[in-house]
Symmetry: C2
DNA sequence: GAGTGGTCTAGACCACAAA
DNA sequence: TTGTGGTCTAGACCACTCC
């Protein structure tokens, strides 16, 4: 492989980790785009001058991180942000009578309240690694399940990372699909912080609930393939007949 | 390995999965107890008549599930329910000013409110796979961080699974440690459901908060090595200066 | 120095999908 | 039939720990 013989240096990485880094680089630079198939293990091993087993270890790790999808007999593919996966991976709200895995079965509909340009305040700037005052886009939506409003969400994204955003005429339900298709941005992981809060006037209006009713507030920072924060999403969820599912292991 | 040649049968499992099952059986029957070291990979491979690579794959999987701890040069050990691991793995509440990984740094203190025997209602019975009316133990505690009450918790466990529970004179802070040491029960994973609720009279008294203040309600079902539910834990958390951390990937 | 897990290799055979 | 990923094997060398 492309010679990385730092053995005693602190920056040492095993070969398979170096291979993984190389492969992720190809995802970042869009050499391999969502849906495309990668070369076979044998071919990659030859290209990188490592054994097939080492390539496999890198591919397995990336598959575990939902970056790739492997199908026996067919090949290895770059994961796509289809509704079903995004739903399972990033939408942890489920009806109380659904099963334990956390999938709702249906993608929540969206009612767009509006979107506009703004400047980042301290909180947004910290979350997105921006300067205070940097230009951002705000998107406000109410999301519905089976026709009923279940949460409001405010999405903040840096204008710099999404050039031409102002030309959009509509915001699709699945914005991660949009980020990928329009700007080549892959959301790879997200960190969420949950709190219980009281419904404000505005919450009550949007969610048709009582003023002061307890809501689940979720603060999500979504990151791209390089762990760079690219989206801040604040949600406020009605949890009368719903719950947020988490699996600890 | 102990001959399991069902190839076309629907119950087919790869060798390494069969090996893993075998090893877990030895954890369940306490052949290997927390803190003990396992035989070396070579030795296990010989015992089970498989290659070292196959054993390794099983061991790696179990390590990923926090059942084992491997230390280069020393050996492979059965994971212990020490405070630091339990804290990191099962306690997702953190102060807002802590870092993003979800560790609080300190194990929350406990103020025991009492424990008593009771009979399982429908909800408890469903959660723990019991008959309605089965005998259970209830434990009520308030937990404190830096001296301040942050949550109340009600633990329900089946009396059958914890014989001699009535002889306890105190309940330690880390009950998973107790389950392990006293009854050989290992908590391997847990599913949590979160909701926002309003503080009741009792909540307000225990947490020194306002009546009706929004609290984060966490319903945890903890499972043993065989995925059997062994504990139901209902928590109600003050999240004014705290949050529940979740990582989505 | 002996023994352990961590990494890497090379090659075999299988199940599966597509042509 | 061909090519893919999935499994399994056998053996090498390294880094680390303990004696």
């Amino acid at each position: 492989m492309a010679a990385q013989e730092n053995d005693t240096a602190i920056g040492f990485k095993p070969l398979y980790a170096q291979v993984k880094d190389q492969l992720i680089r190809r995802l970042v630079d869009r050499t391999w785009q969502p849906g495309m198939s990668l070369p076979s293990e044998q071919e990659l091993a030859r290209q990188l001058s490592v054994s097939q087993g080492t390539v496999r270890k890198a591919l397995d790790a990336m598959t575990a991180e939902n970056l790739l999808v492997r199908r026996q007999g067919r090949g290895t593919f770059v994961a796509e942000p289809e509704d079903s996966r995004i739903l399972f991976q990033f939408f942890r709200l489920a009806a109380d009578d659904a099963d334990a895995t956390g999938a709702t079965g249906a993608f929540p509909d969206s009612k767009l309240l509006g979107w506009a340009q703004d400047t980042a305040d301290k909180d947004q700037a910290d979350a997105l690694d921006l300067e205070v005052g940097a230009t951002v886009w705000l998107i406000e939506r109410v999301r519905l399940l089976l026709g009923k409003p279940v949460l409001t969400e405010t999405i903040t994204i840096p204008a710099d990372a999404f050039p031409g955003f102002e030309q959009l005429t509509e915001i699709p339900n699945n914005v991660y699909q949009l980020y990928s298709a329009r700007w080549g941005i892959t959301i790879a992981k997200a960190d969420e912080r949950l709190k219980a809060v009281a419904a404000t006037d505005e919450d009550a209006r949007h969610l048709k609930c009582e003023l002061g009713e307890p809501l689940l507030a979720v603060r999500r920072i979504a990151r791209d393939l390089e762990e760079k924060p690219v989206e801040l999403r604040l949600s406020r969820c009605l949890t009368r007949d719903m719950h947020y599912a988490a699996n600890l292991r």
